[in-house]
Symmetry: C2
Subunit: 397 residues, 2 copies
C-alpha cells in the first residue's frame, strides 16, 4: 500500500510543554523539500493573532519551505512581544531548515492573551525537527500537534487523476470550541503534490472554503487565529493543471475540506449530535446561508436536539428572525425525513418516532424548504450540552 | 398609603388549566373603565403569533377597553385555527365587558405550535372577569398570569408630577428564555393615568424601547410573540401632556422600562449572573450596539462569567468579530472596575481578586472602551449555565 502523504513534505509532532499532559504533542512541523506553492485563508476577526498577520503577509507564495504550529497558546492579544515571539519561532525553523524566515508560515492555537513560553518552544523546535518523516505516523503526530480540546485528530485524504497522474491530497484540522463561520478557531493544513500556481492555490482555497469551513458552527464565536493553508509541492508530475483538470482537482479539494470541516462540529465541545441543516428554495445564496446560520446558532434549537425533542417551533421561529424575507406560509420543516410543519401550522406526526430518531442517531438532519427560489445551502452545527457549559465555565480558572 | 395602580384599570389573574400547576395563574386580564389610549411595539420575527397580528392591526388606538393574556401556550405557528382562537378570546372578553372585539388586545406566551385549549380558556375567562379589582393584589395576580418559566413576577412602578398632577406608571413583564433584542419572548404591559394621544403613546414607547427592552438578551433567540403595550387612561387629570412635561414623562417611562427590562436577563433561565455590558467611545450608536450585542450573545463570554473566570480574551475576541471597524490598539477592557486589557496586550492584574469579584456579586460589569468617538451604549445579558441547558433540553419531551 502506498502512503497517502503527498511527495515533497516531511512532518513531525512533539510535546514541548505547552500542554500539561506530556503525552500530547503541542508542536507540529511541516517542512517542504523544495520551494513550495502556498495559499491561505484567515479569520475575519478584527483582533488577530500574530501568526495570522505573519502568514497573511507571506501568502500566496511559491517559496514556502515550512509551516510551524504550536497548540496550547494562541499568541493572540499579546502585543509587540507576541509579534517578536512569532517571528522568532519562524526564524528558528528557518535556520534549522536552511531557508529564510519569510519562507516559514506559523500557526498558533490555544488560550488567548498569554505570552508564548519561548524557552520551551526553542527546545521543542530542535526536537521536532529531529523527528520529521514521511510516514503516516509522522503525519498523525503533526495532526495531533495542532489539537487543543479536540477529542482526537481530524484528518482526511483523497486521491485523484490529474493529467494522467495520481495526485494525493491530505489534510489535518483542529477545532472544537470558538467555532463560527468565516474561519473560526480552526486551523487546517492541506497538502498536495499537484502542481499549482500561487494564484490557483489561493483561488481554489477561497472557492471551496465558502461551502465547507465557512459552513460550520459550534458556538458562534469567531476566533482570532483561524487559518487554512494549502501547500502544493508539484511533485506528482502533473505539469500545469488547467481547465477540466483544475475543476476536477477543485471538486476533490472541496470534498476533502467538507470531510475535514464536518469533523469539527461533530467533535464540538461536549456535543452529542452533529446537526446538518439543509436550506432549500431560497432566492439567493446569501438568504439561504443567513437562515442556516441563524438556525445553527440558536441555543434553543441546539438544546432541543440534545434532548431529542422535535421542538419545531424553535426551528421555525429561528428562521423567522434570521432577517431574511420569506413567505411563512410556504415554509416546510422536515426533521430526519419527517414532515413536522407546513403552511403556517403544525402537521400531525408521531412525536415519539421523531424523538427516537434524534436520540438514536449521532447526525440530525434539519431541512427547511422555502418557496422563494431554488438556491440550496448546507450547514453543520453541534448541539449544546451541559458538558459544553461545564467545560467552558471551568476552562481556565 | 395610596395604591400604585393608576386610575382607570381593573386587573385580575386566574388559573384555567393551561399550566399544570393549579397554583399558577395562566390568564391575565386588564379591563379599562373607559375607552383608553393604547400603543404597542412588537416582535420583528417574520413568523408571528396570531395575537401579534391582531394587536398590530388595532394599535395605536384611543378606544381600547381590555388586554387579555394567556400564558402556557403562545398560539404561534397555529395557522387559521390560531387566528380564530385568538379572535374568539377577544370576542368573549368583549362580550363580558360590553365592548366590541376590536377594542380588546390579546397576548399569548408559552409553547409554540399547539392550538389553544379553548374550552379551558372560555371557562377561565368567565372566572377571571369575576376577579377583577384595583388593588395591588389584583395587579400582582395579573402579573403572575403572564409568566411562563419566570421564577417570579416582574413588576415596577413610578410616580411623577405632570402639569401639577401626580401621574402613576406601573408595569409588568415576563420573559426568561428566548430573549433577544428587538422584542424577544417578552410580554409587557405598562399602565399610566397620564393623558396621551395614541401617537404620543406610540412615540414614547418606541423611543424608550430602544434603550431598554431592545438592550437585553438571554439566549439570542427572538420570539414570535414579543409585545410591549402602553395603556394611558388619562384619569390623572393632567390635561394634554406636551413639551417639558412630555420629556419628563418619557424619562420616567424609560426608567420604568429599564427596571422591567433588566429583570428579564436577571431571571434568565438558569442564570447566576446579570451581565451589564457598557460600550464607550464608539463612532455611532449602531456600532456600539453591535459590539454590545456580540459580546452579550457569546456563549464563551457567558460561560466565563458563570465560572467567575476573567477570561478577557473571549470578550476582546467577541468585540473583534462584531463586524464593527475599530482600532484594536485603542481598546480597553474593564471588568468590575479592574483594567484587564489595553493597547493590544494583557495588563497585569490579580486574577484571584477579579475572579472573586465576579463570584461574589450577582451583577458583573463589562466595560469596553474604544477611541472611535463618544457614543455609549448599555446592554444586559444572562450568563450561561448547566441549568439553562438542562432546562431547555428537557423542556417538552
Amino acid at each position: 500500500m502506498t502512503s497517502p502523504i503527498p511527495a515533497g513534505f516531511r512532518l513531525g509532532g512533539f510535546h514541548c510543554g505547552l500542554k500539561r499532559n506530556p503525552n500530547k504533542e503541542d508542536l507540529s512541523l511541516i517542512v517542504c523539500d523544495e520551494d513550495t506553492v502556498a495559499a491561505g485563508v484567515y479569520t475575519t476577526n478584527l483582533v488577530v493573532a500574530a501568526p495570522v498577520v505573519w502568514d497573511r503577509e507571506r501568502t500566496p507564495s511559491d517559496k514556502i519551505r515550512a509551516v510551524i504550529t504550536n497548540s496550547g497558546n494562541a499568541n493572540a492579544c499579546t502585543g509587540e512581544q507576541g509579534v517578536k515571539d512569532n517571528a522568532e519561532m519562524a526564524s528558528i525553523v528557518a535556520k534549522m531548515a536552511g531557508v529564510s524566515a519569510d519562507q516559514v508560515l506559523t500557526m498558533s492555537t490555544g488560550i488567548i492573551g498569554h505570552h508564548l513560553p519561548m524557552e520551551k518552544i526553542r527546545a521543542g523546535l530542535d526536537e521536532v525537527f529531529q523527528r520529521l518523516g514521511t510516514d503516516e505516523s509522522h503525519f498523525d503526530a503533526a495532526a495531533r500537534g495542532i489539537m487543543t480540546t479536540d477529542k482526537g485528530k481530524k484528518i482526511a485524504s483523497r486521491e485523484c487523476e490529474v493529467n494522467g497522474k495520481t495526485v494525493k491530497l491530505i489534510g489535518m484540522c483542529k477545532g472544537a470550541g470558538m467555532i463560527a463561520p468565516n474561519m473560526a478557531t480552526m486551523l487546517s493544513v492541506v497538502l498536495t503534490d499537484a502542481e499549482l500556481t500561487p494564484d490557483q492555490a489561493k483561488s481554489l482555497l477561497t472557492s471551496v472554503t465558502n461551502d465547507t469551513f465557512n459552513c460550520i458552527t459550534v458556538d458562534g464565536h469567531r476566533s482570532t487565529n483561524d487559518t487554512l493553508l494549502l501547500l502544493a509541492s508539484g511533485k506528482a508530475g502533473t505539469g500545469k493543471v488547467e481547465g477540466a483538470a483544475l475543476d476536477s482537482l477543485r471538486s476533490e479539494l472541496r470534498q476533502l475540506c467538507e470531510d475535514l470541516a464536518k469533523q469539527i462540529p461533530a467533535d464540538g465541545e461536549g456535543s452529542t449530535h452533529l446537526i446538518e441543516i439543509n436550506i432549500e428554495g431560497c432566492a439567493s445564496r446569501e438568504d439561504a446561508a443567513r437562515i442556516a446560520k441563524t438556525v445553527a446558532d440558536s441555543a434553543l434549537v441546539k438544546t432541543a436536539i440534545t434532548g431529542g425533542d422535535p421542538n419545531w417551533g424553535r426551528i421555525v421561529s429561528a428562521a423567522g428572525y434570521s432577517g431574511v424575507s420569506f413567505d411563512p406560509m410556504g415554509m416546510q420543516l422536515i426533521v430526519n425525513g419527517h414532515l413536522l410543519y407546513q403552511q403556517g401550522t403544525p402537521v400531525k406526526f408521531d412525536e415519539k418516532t421523531v424523538s427516537q430518531s434524534i436520540k438514536d442517531s449521532f447526525e440530525t438532519d434539519i431541512t427547511l424548504r422555502f418557496t422563494e427560489g431554488d438556491t440550496k445551502f448546507r450547514y453543520w452545527s453541534s448541539d449544546l450540552t451541559v458538558e459544553y457549559v461545564r467545560f467552558n465555565s471551568e476552562y481556565r480558572t
